[in-house]
């Protein structure tokens, strides 16, 4: 991204300071008990999933069925491993691939139309996926879901404890952030930005808006699929309700509150909002009202999300010097 100009050397050094701070924060959960570790794992998975939403969002689209793609990844990978006895790694990759495939088919149809159709259809798709999972109870277990999902294992190494799984989740979350950084500084990333700034202009310069949005949608939905695969392996249990519309809306909330235009938005949103339900334990209604109010206030007064606080602080410090 080209938002940060400035001298090369001091910025490099500052980046190192940031990296050390982040590394300390990221290692902290390993030394602070099961509960923090649990929240940290969920946060990492949310970062991954909301990053997917962010790739789609950068094209000027909002997917209201994001949880459905996580559901597809989770169910396909778990069912392949239990029913067809597939290797867990292979089943997980296939689950992710399935999310990509379904999002490709859906996106090919709806992305040729106005942006609003995308919202309406992804929302409906999310609801119907949940209904389908409830309905095909012979395979999916219906409302009871599937319990006793075996822990993740890669090449014989089993991630069956929280500290181990946190390592995996952290690695995947960091990888997804790195991917985003690479993506948005690449040629394709600039094309995405061009499409979101002015689709008509982008089209007239020879970019295929439909193709770019489709690739972004498939890529973003695959990240959701991977998130679903990992979530199933971590919790050990999946049910249609883990991936309902409220889940999709929770991802959108993280995305918006974190910051819609920054690659750090999903990270900030997930870190701030994932532990929040613990504060409101037993008062789900109050928590949801808080989410609603926060969404409205953020969009009204801080449309760049919490990330924009950082740029604001930076400007403040510069003004002081």
């Amino acid at each position: 991204m080209t938002t940060m100009h400035g001298n090369v050397l001091p910025k490099e050094r500052k980046n190192w300071v940031w990296l050390v701070v982040l590394a300390v924060i990221a290692t902290w959960p390993w030394f602070s008990g099961v509960f923090v570790l649990h929240l940290a794992i969920l946060t990492c998975l949310n970062v991954l999933i909301v990053n997917g939403l962010s790739i789609i969002g950068r094209c000027g689209q909002r997917s209201f069925g994001h949880a459905a793609f996580a559901a597809i990844g989770a169910y396909v990978s778990v069912l392949l491993a239990t029913l067809a006895d597939w290797n867990i790694l292979l089943a997980g990759l296939t689950g992710m691939l399935f999310s990509a495939l379904v999002s490709f088919m859906l996106g090919w149809v709806i992305l040729r139309l106005k942006g609003v159709y995308f919202v309406l259809v992804t929302f409906s798709f999310g609801e119907l996926t949940r209904l389908a999972l409830l309905d095909w109870s012979e395979i999916t277990g219906g409302a009871n879901g599937i319990a006793n999902v075996a822990p993740a294992a890669i090449m014989g190494f089993v991630f069956d404890t929280r500290p181990r799984f946190y390592g995996l989740a952290l690695a995947v979350a960091l990888l997804s952030i790195w991917l985003m950084k690479k993506l948005f500084s690449s040629h394709f990333g600039h094309a995405i930005d061009a499409v979101s700034d002015n689709p008509a202009l982008a089209e007239s310069t020879g970019l295929s808006v439909h193709k770019i949005q489709l690739v972004a949608f498939v890529l973003g939905s695959s990240l959701a699929g991977l998130g679903g695969v990992l979530l199933a392996r971590y919790i050990g249990y999946i049910s249609p309700e883990s991936f309902n519309t409220s889940a999709s809306i929770a991802f959108i909330t993280m995305f918006v509150i974190g910051g819609q235009r920054s690659i750090w938005g999903p990270l900030v949103g997930a870190v701030v909002l994932t532990p929040l339900p613990e504060l409101f334990r037993g008062a789900v209604q109050t928590q949801n009202i808080f989410y609603g109010v926060a969404l409205i206030l953020i969009l009204r007064f801080m449309p760049g999300g919490l990330v924009s606080l950082m740029t604001w602080l930076k400007g403040f410090r510069k003004a002081k010097q």
């Binding site: 000027g60 909002r62 859906l106 149809v109 709806i110 040729r112 139309l113 106005k114 942006g115 609003v116 159709y117 919202v119 309406l120 259809v121 929302f123 409906s124 798709f125 609801e127 119907l128 209904l131 389908a132 409830l134 309905d135 519309t245 809306i249 959108i252 918006v256 789900v284 209604q285 109050t286 949801n288 009202i289 989410y291 609603g292 109010v293 926060a294 969404l295 409205i296 969009l299 009204r300 449309p303």
Partner: protein
């Protein structure tokens, strides 16, 4: 039972459900047309309509028709107020506006949950007895509901077609800029359009309350159906939404003779997707794709 009787019965049920979808989808289209935003709070206004009518008739013992009228005008006022208070800065801001309505929906639903509680309430039927025509039996309460819904539609049609504010509203839906050039004041028509749109949702909820159960969660299903109807009818087209609402209601009712409801939903979703490929402007070809 005779096959043809079953079919007629399904047609009547389909028309009732279709009227519900029609009211939801026309209100949604009105809001979308004026504000250019997808109103995710639309289902919650349906829920508010159902809950309010339940309390007006059950607790205050008002007659059903009076309760429905009070609910309708109350919803218009609340909608206009919320538009003015909350949505005003987001008018015609497609992306952020729709997320604001998501926030609004969360607030409305959870406030209702705190006040009413999560348990479904059931409302007494509006009328006793049944209407018998040949071999077909229709409960009187359903006949009433259909009658009221048709009355509302006739009034809405007259309002949009002949009254000055109605015509102005249609002009805003059609083309906002040209409407403002003609001297139509946005200051008035944004709150009015939003209020009227959610008023229609609330009246759908109010009319369906005696037929279905009432709880803070009842808004989700009609919202989903409104979305499907709007896609089916072509976005932004009021006649398209009305026609597609009835078609969807009838299709669902016939399909329920053969499949269970979620299988029917899958087929309908597949049909909608197929239609988006073949005929993206909607059933009547009037929407903007």
């Amino acid at each position: 039972m005779d096959w043809s009787v079953l079919l007629v019965q399904a047609t009547i049920n389909g028309l009732i459900i279709g009227l519900l979808y029609l009211l939801m989808a026309v209100g949604f289209t009105l809001v979308f047309g004026v504000m250019r935003m997808v109103n995710f709070a639309h289902g919650e206004f349906y829920m508010l309509g159902a809950v309010t009518v339940y309390f007006f008739t059950g607790v205050f013992h008002l007659p059903f028709l009076v309760s429905v009228a009070l609910t309708f005008f109350g919803a218009i006022a609340l909608g206009a107020l919320l538009e003015w208070l909350i949505l005003q800065p987001f008018r015609r801001d497609e992306l952020n506006g729709m997320i604001v309505t998501v926030g609004l929906a969360m607030i409305l639903q959870n406030v209702a949950l705190i006040i009413v509680g999560p348990d479904p309430l059931s409302m007494p039927a509006v009328a006793e007895g049944t209407l018998q025509l040949g071999g077909i039996v229709v409960p009187n309460s359903r006949v009433y509901v259909v009658g009221f819904a048709l009355l509302v539609l006739a009034m809405l049609y007259a309002f949009l077609r002949y009254s000055r504010p109605g015509r102005a509203l249609r002009a805003v839906v059609e083309d906002f800029e040209i409407a403002s050039i003609q001297g139509i004041r946005a200051r008035v028509y944004y709150p009015l359009g939003f209020g009227l749109g959610v008023g229609l949702a609330s009246i759908a909820g109010a009319l369906m309350a005696p037929i279905f159960s009432v709880s803070p969660f009842v808004g989700a299903a009609p919202l989903l159906k409104a979305f499907i109807v709007v896609v089916l009818g072509g976005l932004g087209s009021i006649p398209g939404a009305a026609f597609a609402g009835l078609v969807l209601g009838l299709c669902e009712s016939y399909a329920s003779l053969f499949f269970d409801s979620s299988t029917a939903d899958m087929f309908i979703f597949a049909a909608v997707m197929a239609m988006l490929v073949l005929r993206p402007k909607g059933l009547l070809g009037k929407g903007d794709a």
